[in-house]
């Protein structure tokens, strides 16, 4: 599975973009998806610095493609109004973090990420994520979305 309960954080208290990324990378590391936290974080920040992955609607999708990722994953966190250097200056409160190995075989998980990305454009998908009470329900919402 691309995502599981341990890759979801209901209320992450980190206050800056870099802290959020660091915290989520750590989850991925604990789940064995990332072999080298620093290297992964650097890849994600490099991408962020090209231009912000904040896509509006309070959503950011930091992502990194590097060989520090052992197995592709999707992580999710709700945060409290973090500034994501968005062009529209608005803070974000939903973060999807994505990790993909540099060289990966098969593209099943890429298709799943594509579906999630499309879903993010839907208002009801975003609000159900904001209103969910448990990790289980968030996991269900995400899994439903990619069916």
């Amino acid at each position: 599975m691309l995502i599981n309960k341990n890759l979801i954080e209901m209320n992450l208290t980190s206050k800056t973009r870099d802290e959020v990324i660091q915290a989520l990378a750590k989850l991925a590391y604990q789940e064995g998806r990332v072999s080298d936290i620093e290297k992964y974080v650097q890849a994600v920040l490099k991408r962020e610095n090209e231009y912000s992955t904040s896509v509006g609607f309070g959503v950011a999708i930091p992502h990194g493609k590097t060989n520090a990722v052992k197995e592709p994953f999707l992580g999710f966190a709700r945060v409290k109004e973090v500034d994501w250097a968005a062009p529209d200056k608005n803070p974000i409160d939903l973060v999807f973090i994505i990790g993909v190995p540099e060289e990966q075989s098969g593209n099943e998980h890429l298709k799943i990420l594509a579906k999630i990305s499309r879903k993010l454009m839907k208002e009801d998908f975003r609000s159900s994520l904001r209103n969910a009470d448990t990790k289980e329900s968030i996991l269900n919402i995400i899994q439903d979305a990619v069916k």
Binding site: I61, I98, N107, L110, L113, A114, S117
Partner: protein, 472 residues
Amino acid sequence: MKLLAVTACTTGIAHTYMAAEAIEEVAKEKGYEVKVETRGSVGVENELTKVDIEGADAILIASDTSVPMERFIGKKVLSVPVSEAIKDTEKLVDQAFNASIYQGNKNLVDEVSEIKEQRAAQRKGAYKHLLNGVSFMIPFVVAGGIAIALSFLIGYDAFQQEGTLAAYLKSIGDSAFGLMVPILAGYIAYSIADRPGLAPGMVGGVIAIALNAGFLGGIAAGFLAGYVVLLIKKYIRLPKNLQGIMPVLIIPVLGSLAVGLIMYYVLGAPVAAINTGMNNFLTSLSGTNAVILGFIIGLMMAFDMGGPLNKAAYAFGTGTLVAGTGSMVMAAVMAAGMVPPLGLALATILFKNKFNNAEREAGKAAWVLGLGFITEGAIPFAAADPFRVIPSIMAGSAVTGALSMLFKSTLSVPHGGIFVLFAVENLIGYIIAIAVGTVVTAFLVGTLKKPLQEIETERNVKNEKYNRSSSI
């Protein structure tokens, strides 16, 4: 109204799809017909077809990477960064319908190489494998053909004197030609089964030569080897700790044995018979039959300008090359392939009023492409006005192909255009054939195409009507 869009981003993971979703949503809300091509890391999905593009009113490109643009020439195209398409979707969709017409890349040479790459990427199945083999084989045939032609320049029989430069040149040429069929077979197999296909394919190719099955035998061996290796990979499963010996021991040995034995016991004899038959047919070919063959080759070379038909004729031409002897078919193929860009280039000079500035500029580059035997140089002209240009170049190339056969010109190398004229026998006839076809194409294009002013006047008349009615 129909809107097309292409979305792509640098990593191809998220923004590509978000932009696609946003554009689809907005366009549907506004009641437009919409189709979005996504170019993400999954690959190209929902690719826009020629029919889609023809029927489109506007095209929105939301991309941070390069997107093949050639196909959109003559359409309203708006290009924006992908992130903008996610945020200001509505505004951009409206803007796309008022965008300026995309004129395309002004540099013909760049444009042509882009088209060639695109086409190579689009090739599929057996055709793709065959062309992969042919493209790896060509350098050997060119090197071999030119070395042998140089030897003949010293003197037609000069190579028979051992230890002379002429003998060495001939020997270099023969060596290169000797690799032609093995390389063809090897890289057909490589295209089918990746690296493990190479060894069985090349071995099969050498056997094809030994069996006198030639070029056709090489093609058979290549496909055989490719699919045999795929089967071995599929059905032979070794325990994990032994898997390392698959590519170095199991596949090469089993693959080569299987291919070799099948060639000797099954395929070799019939293919050799066909090969001999074809060669006899070609050498005995003369008079009307030869001219008809040249005519058909010409039609094929010009019809799709470097597409499958053109490449089929070309592969057939290279197959008729046998070390040391020139081929009439190959000569007709090259001559007919040179004519489309040359004819169009001539037309831009003779009929200046029928081409816009950009096309006249492109005409200059088309001379170079034509002289270099790059038929694709005609594509930008044909894309702009296919129903007038394609019949014109087909007619010119057919005349050239037929004349080249009539004059019995031969060519001993597979490529090079004007740079390999020294490898042509009966050069005068050959040049006449090319020149006549070029003139035929130029005059047909000139006759069929409308002068630009007429088109302009038509537009002005319409505008005037419009202005009048609006002022009332």
